[in-house]
Symmetry: C2
Amino acid sequence: MTRTIVASATREIIIGFDQPFCVIGERINPTGRKKLAAEMIVGNFETVIKDALEQAACGATMLDVNAGVTSVNPNETEPGLLVQTLEIVQGLVDLPLSIDSSVTAAIEAALKVAKGRPLVNSVTGEEEKLEAILPLVKKYNVPVVAISNDETGISMDPDVRFAVAKKIVQRCADFGIPAHDVVVDPLVMPIGALGDAGRQVFALLRRLREELKVNTTCGLSNISFGLPHRHGINAAFIPMVIGAGMTSAIMNPVRPQEMEAVRGANVLNGTDENCTNWIRTYKDYKPAEGGQAVAAPVAVNAPGEGAGNGGRRRGGREARMGRG
Amino acid sequence: MTRTIVASATREIIIGFDQPFCVIGERINPTGRKKLAAEMIVGNFETVIKDALEQAACGATMLDVNAGVTSVNPNETEPGLLVQTLEIVQGLVDLPLSIDSSVTAAIEAALKVAKGRPLVNSVTGEEEKLEAILPLVKKYNVPVVAISNDETGISMDPDVRFAVAKKIVQRCADFGIPAHDVVVDPLVMPIGALGDAGRQVFALLRRLREELKVNTTCGLSNISFGLPHRHGINAAFIPMVIGAGMTSAIMNPVRPQEMEAVRGANVLNGTDENCTNWIRTYKDYKPAEGGQAVAAPVAVNAPGEGAGNGGRRRGGREARMGRG
């Protein structure tokens, strides 16, 4: 049974086929968030702090941390800013973190200060990337997200994307990194642009699970890009990818409709034992009357609820979480 | 490609792997609805009419019609009442109907007056049932729902349920009824009572599709029996069963959260071409602000939207539908 272990200083989480779906909170990322980027550039971490606390309170299993505020000289500025952001986040919440950067020096700087066992996000099938990132992954003994594209870009052919994933897993093995420490992102296309995007991903997920026996992830909301009521598409996509074998996603845990889909799919997939988390979250749920279902959130989740059976506390420190 | 054709006088629908999910509206059924039963017994069809119009307006693909108001002398009373109910419903809406009764004489009486090509709901693996129902199914050249239980009851072992389904399909073949006219119900257990109920059904659905090549259905809301916020569980279950190959369900189309899950899964499964139905339904959708997703309905669906590509109008009659 494939198990990817990630950990903060005090909390260990298992990503795996028999585990509750791992929700990797995507919010701490200045890409496309001008206000957040402007704040981080001047050393203002108010939004980072709010996003960390809020995502944890909403039930994220892990948090992604990205500090890519600029495309100008990122090699010089990003390592320091990523380290600073990571240290703030790991001082606030006890969830495992994902170190998200396209700058190798930033990943290495963050790995030096990260507590526990973070996830490196990411490597691709590009030769230069593999040779830069895999030695760090090996050296720090951490798991890594493997994105299924290479020098030729993102293939529209899912067989090519599978082949790229397979190549990365093999290259990892060459570096002594086991397949259970590789979390493959098969790449999700917008369904509005490519009508076959859903079926492609479902088939890829089954192959990745059965043939490569790896855990999987994706940037979940890509699927609904360009469509109205994206949360509805996302919320239908989540149970389908979980049913097809996906074990984690980089997504927004603050969205109640998507989180409800995660919790429901965990129940149905048999990873919310005795429906404990579902019942705790929705026991006092009151839908609106008159046939009008409302997916409004009930913010009663235990911190890091996604951990489920796989989450074992290793220390005695209480989570310091609240609503941002 | 397996295709089950059902039809009203004017509208033909295909149930199939490449078709939008077929939503069989469950509301016209006095089982457990004392008020409806009391009305129907005295010949008051107000609620039947309201339920027919409302389910059609909410996007049902077909309507189930059940007139089992009493367990006292149903052989005498149910045929007449089912015929009366069926004639009212088929005079109101142009959706194909499902004739739902445990009384053979009622099914035969309804088959005599039903227009188009109704679905018979249901036969089981019980010898007596097979011998009573299959000759009618053959005589009237209609499709039939096959429920995977027999004289020994409902097995908790999914392999036994598969074997019962296989037996029914074989017995149908003996009667000259092709497999594409058998819609198997693998039987859905409550997930709150049986933690494996979801995975059992997903595995059964794949086998039914791949090995028996039949269409499938279920009483959808069984899955959430006994749990809080049942609509949330149902709404996660729908994309998962669709992803596993289920092609129809007997469910409540008046629930917006469930119907949103059906529409989203159709998009992702590639059966809502160009996302046409999704965009039409949700183009003006306004979620609540502040991270509070609301799944409130937008009642702009075209009648029988579930028909999608498979729904071809055979006559010029406009649908006579509205909100009840």
